[in-house]
């Protein structure tokens, strides 16, 4: 491995570009496993749309964010079947570098069609956040204005409002729980899906879009500075009237 600056240097200098922080972290820990399947293809397509083969960001890129994180569920549990419905709960950990990055968009990409050995299922997701009911029928168009690079079996659903309003600013460990629900197309028979390995199948992933808060922080600092200036001026005005 190429020699990396000593971690003391990295630790002392938090303003180092985060690539070195990542390198330090990554060089210490072997990545759990190289991603594969649709999530990897999705992100490779997003990358190719946003940067040229040498990594130069394209002028006409449309993602509108400096950073996009694809999060896979940390827990995937099959619930007991409810009538003709197959239900799985998926937990997505919302780790965040809240200081440096501002969440500007959140979407969930999920399979709205699931073809198993002897079942053709139609699926949707529901967010398990109070007062955030979003029940979506399958639609190939994502909620966002930008064409999402999903294949015909996958759908992208915008959940920015829910995540931002209900979860993002919560203290402590934050987990977004989704219910992935499937029903046999044109049938109400009870589904027996044991043994189909559904918990290891990629059925949904989360996309969080971030922008640097630098300008955000700058803007806030300036705004605060202006407020102070105005306060001082106004008290000054009062004094001169006296």
């Amino acid at each position: 491995k190429a020699g990396l600056p000593s971690t003391a240097l990295l630790a002392d200098n938090p303003t180092l570009p985060s690539i070195l922080d990542l390198a330090k972290e990554a060089s210490g820990k072997e990545v759990k496993q190289w991603p594969q399947g649709y999530p990897l293809r999705y992100m490779l397509k997003l990358y190719q749309r946003s940067a040229d083969p040498l990594g130069h960001p394209r002028e006409n890129r449309t993602i509108g964010a400096k950073m996009v994180r694809l999060i896979k569920p940390s827990a995937n549990t099959v619930r007991p079947p409810r009538g003709s419905w197959h239900v799985q709960t998926l937990d997505f950990p919302l780790a965040s570098d809240q200081v440096a990055y501002e969440l500007i968009r959140a979407t969930v990409v999920y399979r709205h069609q699931l073809h198993l050995v002897n079942y053709n299922l139609s699926c949707h997701v529901e967010i398990w956040v109070p007062k955030c009911g979003t029940k979506h029928s399958p639609s190939s168009k994502s909620g966002s204005s930008k064409p999402s690079p999903t294949s015909k079996a996958w759908t992208e659903m915008d959940i920015t409002h829910c995540v931002q309003q209900k979860l993002w600013n919560r203290k402590g460990r934050r987990v977004l729980r989704l219910r992935f629900m499937c029903q046999q197309q044109n049938s109400n028979e009870t589904l027996k899906l044991q043994g189909h390995g559904l918990t290891s199948l990629d059925v949904a992933f989360l996309l969080l879009y971030f922008n640097d808060t630098d300008d955000g922080v700058q803007a806030k600092l300036l705004a605060r500075g202006q407020e102070e200036l105005i306060d001082r001026e106004s008290s000054f005005l009062v004094r001169s009237v006296r």
Binding site: E25, A26, K32, P53, L54, G55, M67, R69
Partner: protein, 125 residues
């Protein structure tokens, strides 16, 4: 010695020891993330062109090096007053960002634009 400052008046001794291609300039350089030992967490791109700046910062700092007056003063001080003061250094001046697709240790996949990754021009400072 006017020749040491005005770039259109060359000093006889100056001509011999600093030819044009030794002067501070941008040198293209391409590596793979494999060479950096980072290919186990960087998915794309495969190749990376950080480039680098190399060359001598003489008194005659050719136009376009974006050098402050201080660089000329420092080179004069180094040559005429005190040799322990170093010549100005040839360093990057403008940078370009770079988009990287990487894997985080928890298995998430991250697309991120990093500022200041590619040297685009050089300066003497």
């Amino acid at each position: 010695q006017a020749c040491g400052i005005a770039s259109d008046v060359s000093c006889p001794s100056q001509e011999h020891n600093v030819s044009i291609n030794n002067q501070c300039s941008l040198h293209p350089y391409e590596i793979s993330f494999h060479q950096l030992g980072w290919d186990h967490w960087i998915i794309a791109p495969r190749l990376y062109t950080p480039n680098y700046c190399k060359g001598i910062c003489t008194r005659i700092l050719h136009y376009g090096l974006n050098s402050p007056n201080h660089a000329i003063i420092q080179s004069l001080v180094s040559e005429l007053v005190n040799h322990s003061v170093p010549q100005p250094s040839c360093v990057p001046y403008n940078f370009l960002p770079m988009s990287i697709l990487l894997i985080e240790s928890d298995g998430s996949i991250l697309y991120k634009e990093y500022e200041g990754m590619i040297a685009q021009s050089c300066t003497c400072r």
